[in-house]
Amino acid sequence: MINLQDIEKIYQSDNGTIHALRGVNLSVEQGEIFGIIGTSGAGKSTLVRCINMLESPTKGTVTVDGQELTSLNEQELREQRKKIGMIFQHFNLLSSRTVYQNIAFPLELAKCSKEEIDKEVLHLLELVGLSDKKDQYPAQLSGGQKQRVGIARALANHPKVLLCDEATSALDPQTTKSILELLKDINRKFQLTIVLITHEMQVIKEICNRVAVIEGGKIIEQGRVIDIFTQPQCSTTKEFISSIINHNLPDFFKEISLASDPSADSNLILRLSFIGHSTEEPVISSMIRRFSIDASILYGNIDHIQTIPFGTLIVELSGEQASLQQALSYLKTRELGIEVIGYVARNARAVG
């Protein structure tokens, strides 16, 4: 649906040149919700603006729904933009127009008749749940309501793609949730492709199918949300994920001296990560039954990415070294992520 190829963006300003995007390749499938996450200044705003050519890339091609936008003139581009909806962090509603008139705005631009506009706007008002606010002005609405108007306005021309520029960043967590629900709803109902940029991992976790991590104008990592969450590769990604899932060792491990090799008299500390169905399998208890070892849980965490459960567990296994190694080999045959954190002398541990 959306294809970005070798996108470069260089700004010339008084204080020199800024290389905002350095060769971005991205492709978004029809009907998916694609997230782009990055810190401020990473280039994500520029990137999303390249998709509807609010920023024209210095180099590279942008293709949306089979139409190469980078080759169009101003007039043709304006026609294409009508098929791409966009919502903004600060809503960007017209303060001099009522809710109704704001939603009617893109339809006026598309030269729709009064009757068509009326029918469409009333329908959209109902969709976003603001039918009773139609004659109010934006100043009389709350942030969440304003964003709902923004969404209705963006949908007015039946776009194929909806771009969300930090659409929930100015909202409180409760409102964020309801706006995300609405977006998910729209995505399902109209098979609408959504691209959203954010700096909040929570948003990605809540509704995205796939995610790209952008840093310094480059996509450093991309993939299915569940994969990125459970096996982040880059340190920036890990940092984002740690904002909602703790991948670091709990602090008390810092006080323990860990060895990387086993000795006769040491316990094994493991981190197990579960995804999807493996969370339902009683791995720990069957391990304990099979091998004569003990397991104590040091840290645990189970969460859901949309409907897929996943979790991490840090366990300390104690017993004969040979049994420990057998247990480890057994665990490796299961559908789990396993990481040996280290070995700790049995008497060196104050905990457990």
């Binding site: 609010l54 304006r78 933009r81 017209l94 001099s96 127009r97 100043a139």
Partner: protein, 217 residues
């Protein structure tokens, strides 16, 4: 006060009103588009054109920095060209308009600059053309500020029109100087000042009222 004086007062009041009304209208008709051009040709704006922007900016500044009484005399040839005479109420309208155009342009410019660029961007994202952005976004969004700016312009023009007497333009200011000051008629002086104050008050209150009604923020 004599009948004759009252007639004179009425005539002067009419002259002032006429001069101010016509020159306000002309300066709005030219100054508003000029202000729009000043904003939209700015760097990074919808019709970016730096040379045009700088030239217009320089002209506006030059006109604004010329004292009105000097401007009025300096442009007499232009006035003669436009209205056929350099004396009288109609002749006074030319310098009044020329002085007010850059004033309106700057006021409109600053009003339009207050429109959040995000709103313009949103309109662009919806496929609005520069013309549609100007007529459907910039002007409606800044209308309350533009109205206040025009109110200020009218009030300034009431002040400037008092100097129109220097080229025989008549009006209340002229009456105050010729009768109130030069003929020591304190009563005339007083009454013209009171009328001028009342005029300014009425204009300001009307402007405030309209602007408030338009403001939905």
């Amino acid at each position: 006060m004599s009948q004759e004086m009252l007639v004179l007062l009425a005539k002067s009041l009419w002259e002032t009103t006429y001069m101010v009304a016509v020159s306000s209208l002309i300066s709005a008709l030219i100054g508003i588009p000029l202000g729009i051009i000043l904003v939209t040709t700015n760097r990074g704006h919808i019709l970016e054109n730096t040379p045009l922007n700088q030239i217009l900016g320089a002209i506006v500044n030059a006109t604004r920095s010329t004292p009105f009484i000097i401007l009025m005399v300096a442009i007499i040839p232009v006035t003669r060209l436009l209205v056929g005479t350099s004396i009288g109420t109609n002749a006074a309208i030319v310098p009044l308009s020329i002085a007010a155009i850059p004033f309106v342009a700057r006021i409109v410019e600053s009003a339009l600059k207050e429109v959040d660029y995000g709103v313009i961007e949103a309109a662009q994202a919806m496929g609005a053309s520069p013309r549609e952005i100007i007529t459907k976004v910039l002007i409606p969004e800044s209308l309350p500020a533009i109205v206040l700016g025009l109110t200020l312009t009218i009030i300034s023009l009431i002040g400037y029109s008092a100097m129109a007497g220097a080229i025989g333009g008549g009006g209340l200011g002229d009456l105050a100087i010729r009768y109130g000051y030069q003929r020591f008629r304190a009563d005339i002086m007083l009454i013209t000042v009171v009328i001028l104050i009342a005029q300014v008050q009425i204009v300001q209150s009307t402007g405030d009222y309209i602007s408030n009604r338009l403001n939905k923020k």
